[in-house]
């Protein structure tokens, strides 16, 4: 038991920030992300014996976050709102504090979830396309396509250029 607690604490301290970030970019809400992380670690603690390889801990925790998010989404069924009414996402950074970072965050938040999620897994988790395909349950080519489209969209809004329009011909 003490050994289990010790191993769990190591996992908690090492990964909680990334687990929180992934949860935040899934639901785009700080309070919900906090709940998600707490539920995730609670489930992780209860099922800690099922984690055989601690090198796989991050992917394991991210998978729990993903399932927990889906569970909460089913439970609360957020109402659809008109796109024009979507408010800015509170990321903890104000526009005056770091306007460029704030804008990039809003652009990332505006990506559809199918493009945002693999990008977040790659940027935060450091996962390869193959690992992301396992976490998301889609094939690797789909992941590569979604990553391509995610960056293409972001480059368009950040620099005004895309591969198709600006660079593929240049």
């Amino acid at each position: 038991m003490p050994n289990k607690q010790k191993r769990f604490d190591v996992l908690l301290n090492a990964l909680y920030a990334d687990v929180y970030r992934y949860a935040f970019w899934l639901c785009k809400n700080k309070a919900m992300a906090e709940d998600l992380v707490q539920e995730t670690y609670l489930r992780a603690w209860k099922n800690f014996q099922s984690l055989k390889d601690e090198k796989a801990a991050k992917a394991w925790l991210f998978t729990i976050v993903r399932r927990e998010n889906a569970r909460q989404y089913e439970r609360y069924q957020p109402q659809l709102v008109d796109a024009s009414e979507v408010s800015l996402v509170d990321t903890g950074i104000s526009p005056s504090e770091n306007s460029e970072c704030f804008l990039v965050q809003q652009h990332i938040a505006n990506l559809e979830i199918e493009f945002r999620e693999p990008l977040i897994l790659q940027l935060i988790g450091g996962f390869s396309a193959g690992e992301i395909s396992l976490i998301l349950g889609v094939n690797k080519n789909t992941v590569l396509t979604r990553l391509f489209r995610a960056r293409n969209k972001l480059k368009q809004v950040i620099t005004g250029r895309t591969m198709e329009k600006g660079e593929s011909n240049g």
């Binding site: 301290n13 906090e34 209860k46 990008l119 396309a129 590569l144 960056r151 950040i158 660079e167």
Partner: protein, 234 residues
């Protein structure tokens, strides 16, 4: 890998380390610049996605874990307590029910023998009671006898095992035989009584029981059969 594939791959994985990708990247300055621009954008993206977690998140997680453990611990012990109580109840039921039954019968046996020993004089009485005298007493207890099964040397009513009953002594083959008719004192089946001097039977009858106790060697079964045949209860 062609140019289009290279560019698509650069967008999907700017820091791809595959040999074919790196070869294509280093093939021209334009390709290198193309990937470097994407890597620069990735730095901005990485900075942007690194939102700050709440300060006390670790403490909250640990607290939730502690609460969960405490609840699990409580639920575990609640279950164990319930199981233990159930087990105890089963053991008590299984153990004490037969013991109570055995205890009741043992007390009855002891009570009957004590009664005989406390009134040993009655074994030597020569009252020679008639059938009608016997029936008058039996009638008070809701019984009647067709005929006497043996000479009745003593007849009386007394309290046996805290219940009023008929106490008779009849003449047997080996000496006096005590017959006690007990209303309201029941036994589930025929029981035996014995000590160093007496042997006896307790037989269930209607709403009570009948005890027949004589000296060792007395043919009690014969007396029992005759009594059961001759005595009727309302």
């Amino acid at each position: 890998m062609d140019d289009l594939e290279f560019r698509r791959r650069a967008y999907a994985e700017p820091d791809c380390q595959s040999e074919s990708f790196l070869q294509f990247k280093n093939k021209s300055a334009e390709n290198t610049r193309f990937v470097d621009e994407l890597l620069q954008m990735d730095e901005k993206l990485k900075q942007a996605v690194c939102v700050q977690p709440p300060d006390n998140l670790v403490e909250k997680i640990k607290l939730k874990q502690a609460f969960s453990d405490h609840r699990s611990y409580r639920e575990h012990w609640r279950f164990v307590s319930f199981a233990a109580s159930l087990l105890l109840a089963i053991v008590v039921t299984l153990y004490y029910l037969p013991l109570d039954s055995t205890g009741h019968e043992r007390k009855l046996q002891e009570g009957l023998l004590q009664h005989i020993y406390s009134e040993l004089d009655h074994l030597n009485d020569r009252q020679n009671r008639s059938l009608s005298q016997v029936n008058r007493l039996l009638a008070e207890f809701g019984g009647s006898m067709n005929r006497l099964v043996a000479e009745v040397s003593y007849l009386g009513s007394c309290e046996i095992h805290n219940k009023p009953g008929v106490h008779m002594v009849v003449k047997g083959d080996r000496g006096p035989v005590t017959i006690m008719l007990l209303r309201g004192v029941t036994v589930n089946s025929q029981k035996s009584i014995s000590d160093q001097r007496f042997r006896g039977l307790i037989v269930p009858t209607g709403s009570g029981s009948m005890a027949i106790i004589g000296e060792k060697g007395e043919p009690l079964q014969v007396i029992k059969s005759e009594l059961l045949e001759q005595i009727h209860w309302i």
